[in-house]
Symmetry: C3
């Protein structure tokens, strides 16, 4: 985290952008505008924070062309059409500088089946288990304590943090990132009722995950009952999300922490699902739908837009009064109707 400072010239050479100011200014860290000192580079992406441009101590600020003059008036600036995207690329470049590189090879404590297939430049961490028939793509990194079950597939350059389970026959594509505690391919929740209690429906499908997918810590994606659960390319899932069997999530959809999707629901592409939102089963949600945090979605959504449903919170005594009235709400409507008739 405290690497050798880097000259702006080197940074520009790697990432592009127009530099206003001295190319030999050296940067030791990336920081928000209000915390940045002379050794830090910062960025201004949200116009709401524009006032901070005048007060920040940052050694360099990444700005859009419209703010180039204002930024340069106070010190060095990098001008780029999309400062937030530039910032994202800067963090990637920075992380590559400061983090240890992958070390290709299989840790001697890992247990790798002779019937697994490992690509070139693969790194297998300590105590990982790779079962027969598994395929690990080129330059993939499998963290400590991961379990890759039989016939599972990890795509090229995909990185699994320590302690991920990829169930038998499940696949994840290229350039994926899977965080610790993720369980891909546990059984979907399916039972037939009988006189003697529930009878398990064995889950015969798998999980198919596309390229460029990131999956947050302790998230679960269940295998399908008959066909596969599907996560398309570019999907981003935060922590502790629950994806039930046979859910289908379209390309580039992002879901925040603790969201949950029940069985067989189909979510379109380019959606955003807020934190702790719940979507019941067997629904269809079209492309471009945005669900607010903590919303419970109980019916299909056929038009793009923003949908909400959490109960508005308030100070407890007000809430108790309103909640009590809520229990009599349909009665209240009847009373208004009666009044209107008079």
């Amino acid at each position: 985290m405290s690497p050798t400072p880097v000259a702006l010239a080197e940074l520009i050479a790697a990432l592009g952008g127009d530099l206003l100011g001295e190319p030999d200014i050296r940067i030791a860290r990336i920081a928000p505008l209000d915390e940045a000192g002379a050794d830090a580079i910062s960025f201004l992406a949200n116009p709401r924070y524009q006032a901070q441009l005048a007060t920040t101590g940052a050694g360099c600020v990444i700005v859009a062309p419209a703010l180039a003059e204002a930024a340069a008036a106070r010190g060095a600036a990098i001008v780029t059409p999309d400062p937030y995207l530039y910032f994202a690329r800067l963090t990637q470049w920075w992380a590559a500088r400061v983090r240890p590189r992958a070390v290709a090879g299989v840790h001697p404590s890992a247990i790798v089946s002779p019937d697994a297939k490992l690509g070139q430049g693969v790194e297998i961490g300590p105590l990982a288990v790779i079962e027969a028939g598994a395929v690990i793509g080129d330059h993939a990194r499998i963290g400590a304590h991961c379990v890759i079950e039989r016939d599972a597939v990890v795509g090229d350059q995909t990185r699994l943090a320590p302690r991920v389970v990829l169930g038998h026959g499940c696949r994840i594509g290229r350039r994926g990132i899977v965080h610790s505690g993720v369980v891909i391919g546990a059984d979907g929740f399916g039972f037939a009722p009988s006189k003697n209690g529930y009878v398990k429906i064995e889950q015969l499908g798998a999980v198919a995950i596309g390229d460029d997918v990131e999956i947050g810590a302790n998230t679960c994606i269940d295998r399908g009952a008959l066909s596969d659960t599907v996560i398309e390319d570019g999907v981003k899932l935060d922590n502790q999300i629950q994806i039930a069997h046979n859910v289908h999530i379209g390309r580039n959809t992002a879901m925040a922490g603790c969201a949950a999707v029940a069985g067989s629901t189909r979510i379109g592409a380019n959606c955003t699902i807020g934190g702790a939102a719940n979507i019941v089963g067997h629904l269809t949600i079209v492309d471009g739908v945005h669900i607010s945090a903590a919303t419970t979605v109980t019916r299909s959504i056929s038009a793009p837009g923003v949908y909400s449903g959490p109960y508005p919170f308030e100070e407890n005594s007000s809430w108790q009064k309103n909640a009590a009235t809520l229990r009599q709400l349909s009665t209240l409507r009847e009373r208004v109707r009666d009044l209107e008739k008079k």
Copy 2:
């Protein structure tokens, strides 16, 4: 997943049912009606899908007696009183055909205390840890990276997926299935406030789980404070469920993903708890109660029935108008009362 096709005659011999059609038709997969081709067997359990009977390409359809004629008119059919239950049993039979059998024995990398007791035909996976005093029943399967702490008990034929923690002194009965990431027997959340901050109440109970219980991925069941947390026979828990200390869940109750039950609440038998439902602590819920998804249960329930409480979701601009009114709801009631008085 692509086993040798099986003749209907063999399937009938194993599972029963009345076959209408050719016994030597060969089946290569199980599929839903609308995805089934000539090499697939499908089923019709929900009358809502009856129209699909005319259009499915399935080689064989499992139906109830009332639909035998209609099913046979289009191809082979298996007639059985409960097609969904038959389907469940078919999936079990199918899974037994296609999945590798358990291989009795202790993987050389597992760390098994000489003071643990292993039954006959037990399979202990790679890198599992079995502590002193633990008892593993006959034909139980302990997955890779599981930790069975001291004095814990796993019943006969119970199967733990990779990476399950069964805490010290906790017990699970026979024929159970526990998925990856499950934590049974972490400490319940109990503290006494003091001038110097919270003082931990050590959790001295354990977790007692009956027979035929299934527990989904990353679900947690905490140990009791003084006495045990209890999960009765036949309970089915989906993924990422939280069961707090001293909860008691009655026989054959099923809970969907992300549900949570706070401390000391007692839930009856044959209940269903919808996904992401929350039940606060110290309540009693009788047998036969059904809680809708995302409901927050804040008081005891003394009669069987269906109970709901999620906020109805809607398009955001409507929701914002209604939510704003909601904050003034008790005032609105007052205004109606005043109008009525006039």
Copy 3:
């Protein structure tokens, strides 16, 4: 769990309190008033249970001075100003008697980098992984299958249950307790949108956790984007909690199971957050705020107090009627306004 019974005299010698009754009464367990027999010690902390004092079979009851007489009338009693706190300390003393002591040393199956630094009396469990640069404080206990990544720090006497991940550069202070499945230091959820999908913002901060913090099973605390996510001294987190990047939680705040806090939100000291409550991002909540279970907090809170927001649950048919009205609530208000004008 079934240790040698202990005389009240010994217990008083260890924990203090005034004994009314025979010092040689022997106690074999701790039990609630309504389950306690003559071999059990119980406590009365909540006046609501005072009636049980007359009927309990407990061999000894811990009570406040006001109830000393009533308690002594029925058998032995320990009188102390705060019976619940006394009970908490009793459970700690009891656990120390009945549970195996830590055994200092590194299990031969653990994989400890020669560049890690282990304090005195450290216990490292089977198959744990300790990477280079990690620091494990004196008398810390690292459970089986834990992964302590490079440069992470575990404070003195902190105890990690089996299967905890402490990410690179993350720190936890002294006397902490971390339960199984916890993931500290996974990446926060940050992306810049681009024409080609989301571009990852590498998370360059870490997680800084104070002293005396307890973290429940399967809880996740993400690393910060630029600066650290911070959990102050004395914080208690229950199971399956999600703490997003750059959240700051103040001293002695307690959060119940399944609560979730979105990115950059700042929660004060001495707050309580109910189970399954959700707090959206970029808010500030002052000290001394109490959030009810299942509340969704959507704006900052600037005054101490109790805040609520779950939807009141009810029997399904009533709920459906009220929910239908709820969708027309702002219209209903308009109608009342019109009536008032007449």
